[in-house]
């Protein structure tokens, strides 16, 4: 990419949500806002390589987008008031608080619980992060026209149902924030999964960072950001050179992103909300050796708030590693009672690992083979079979 191209990408990533958010506030027209922001980026790609990068790239983009919006609205003979407000939109550097609020408004509106969850994720990606519709469609396994229709339906609902363009205040904020965080975390995990869209994980981190900057006193936001950073820091180490998945304790730590880890550890809240606890657990895993009793204690607290089968499973493993494998196996049996984890492929793998630690190598080998049979991907299957083979070798005299 040329230097000017890079400058457009950098300025665009920063300016896009500001421009879209401000134009929506003034015009109330989501599609117009996106189109104008997009046109400004296109024009920058054309002009900057020729004329040089302007001194204030974000301001340049905002001005171009605003002028486009003014043209469109003038042609549509929109009322004077909107045009006057548009004229007041200035470069982001001089705008201060107002623009900060705009972006936050945009995030909360995209994540409104009256929209379907998938629509919230897609709309956040499209409108706040500026991800092209075609890329979102691919991640959701639908065609581009289908995704376009979904996005249009969501935007129409915002307009016709009267979903407000604002950040809720008071008790409503506490009620709505977890929903926003859930959208960002879903976005992150979609990018993090083996066959996910890797760019989404980075996008989610960027949005979480923005949210943390805009609402600095919310420990759950910093918790989410730290959690994503810690998980993302291991992306290069999750697979070895042959594409095989490496469990945490067998990863090449020199391939971890230590700058991201340092940032996460500095952010780490000491609070006990669900994201803060998960971040603190992830932080424990960056130390050698892992402080398993601390992890087990944190999982106890998390399980008290989020008694899901998967949390129960992880809690069982932590107790098995911290204290005694038999205790872990007992908790695991409780977590699986009633078939709660029947469809979850990692339950058998967890039982296999705890059984190995309890000294029952033969039983563990059989369980690892069983876990491999239900593994959701080929690299995971290979990793489990390798573990079974390794144990079998140990068993031989």
């Amino acid at each position: 990419m040329t230097d000017a191209g890079k400058a457009v990408a950098r300025a665009g990533a920063e300016a896009y949500p500001r421009i879209v958010a401000a134009l929506i506030r003034v015009t109330g027209d989501w599609t117009l806002a996106e189109d104008c922001a997009q046109e400004a980026l296109t024009l920058a790609l054309e002009r900057w390589p020729r004329d040089g990068v302007p001194a204030n790239p974000g301001g340049w983009l905002m001005t171009v987008a605003r002028n486009k919006a003014t043209d469109v609205l003038r042609r549509a003979a929109v009322e004077r008031r909107k045009l006057a407000e548009l004229a007041l939109l200035t470069a982001p550097a001089r705008e201060g608080e107002e623009v900060v609020d705009d972006r936050l408004r945009l995030i909360f509106t995209c994540c409104h619980p009256a929209l379907a969850l998938e629509a919230r994720v897609a709309l956040t990606l499209r409108t706040v992060a500026g991800v092209p519709t075609a890329d979102i469609a691919r991640a959701f396994l639908v065609t581009e026209p289908t995704m376009t229709r979904r996005l249009t339906r969501a935007k129409n609902k915002i307009a016709t149902a009267g979903i407000p363009y604002r950040v809720p205040a008071g008790p409503a904020l506490a009620e709505r924030l977890p929903g926003v965080l859930a959208v960002l975390y879903l976005l992150f995990t979609r990018g993090y999964d083996a066959d996910g869209e890797p760019a989404f994980a980075a996008e989610a981190i960027r949005l979480a960072r923005l949210l943390a900057e805009l609402m600095p006193r919310e420990p759950e936001i910093t918790g989410l950001l730290a959690l994503c950073l810690l998980q993302h820091s291991r992306r290069a180490a999750r697979r070895d050179n042959d594409g095989n998945l490496r469990p945490l304790d067998r990863q090449d730590r020199s391939r971890w992103d230590h700058a991201a880890i340092a940032e996460a550890l500095a952010l780490l809240p000491s609070t006990t909300g669900p994201y803060a606890l998960q971040a603190r657990i992830a932080a424990c895993h960056t130390a050698t050796p892992t402080d398993w009793p601390a992890v087990a204690g944190l999982y106890d607290q998390l399980y008290a708030q989020l008694p899901t089968p998967v949390v129960a499973l992880n809690r069982a493993v932590a107790h098995g590693y911290a204290h005694d494998p038999a205790a872990g196996l007992r908790l695991l049996a409780e977590a699986r009672a009633g078939g709660a984890l029947d469809g979850y492929p990692y339950a058998v793998a967890a039982e296999a690992e705890l059984t190995a630690r309890a000294g029952d190598t033969t039983g563990a080998v059989a369980l690892f083979e069983q876990a491999a049979a239900v593994a959701p991907s080929a690299p995971e299957r290979r990793a489990l079979l390798a573990r079974a083979e390794e144990l079998s070798r140990e068993e031989e005299p």
Partner: protein, 110 residues
């Protein structure tokens, strides 16, 4: 904005009845605030008559148009600033606990 709030029954009512607000308090509060334009309890689903015209011919049928377990038992027309305000009004309604409420915006054809 105006919203039609359909008050419907549900098959999964709240079991803790002590938490359910009274309808009298809800009506009094929202009437006083000017958020409730109009509202009424409706007759039983068995008293419903469905009207259609097909091929120029009037067709009447006995009963509601949708055969579901949940039936509309009342309605309120709300005047609210936006959906968030309407949601706050709806969540304070006793039938949010015992039934379900559906908010539908009025379409401004002007």
């Amino acid at each position: 904005m105006k919203y039609m709030m359909f008050v419907c029954t549900d098959t999964e009512p709240e079991t803790d009845e002590s938490r359910i607000p009274t309808i009298e308090a809800w009506v009094a509060e929202n009437d006083a605030a000017g958020r409730r334009v109009e509202g009424s309890v409706l007759g039983a689903a068995a008293a419903a008559t469905t009207v259609r015209v097909r091929g120029g011919e009037l067709l009447l049928s006995d009963g509601p148009f949708a055969e579901t377990k949940e039936v509309i038992v009342g309605f309120d027309i709300l005047e609210c600033a936006d959906l968030d305000e309407a949601i706050e009004v709806a969540r304070a309604h006793p039938m949010a606990h015992g039934g379900r409420l559906e908010l539908r915006p009025f379409v401004d054809l002007a």
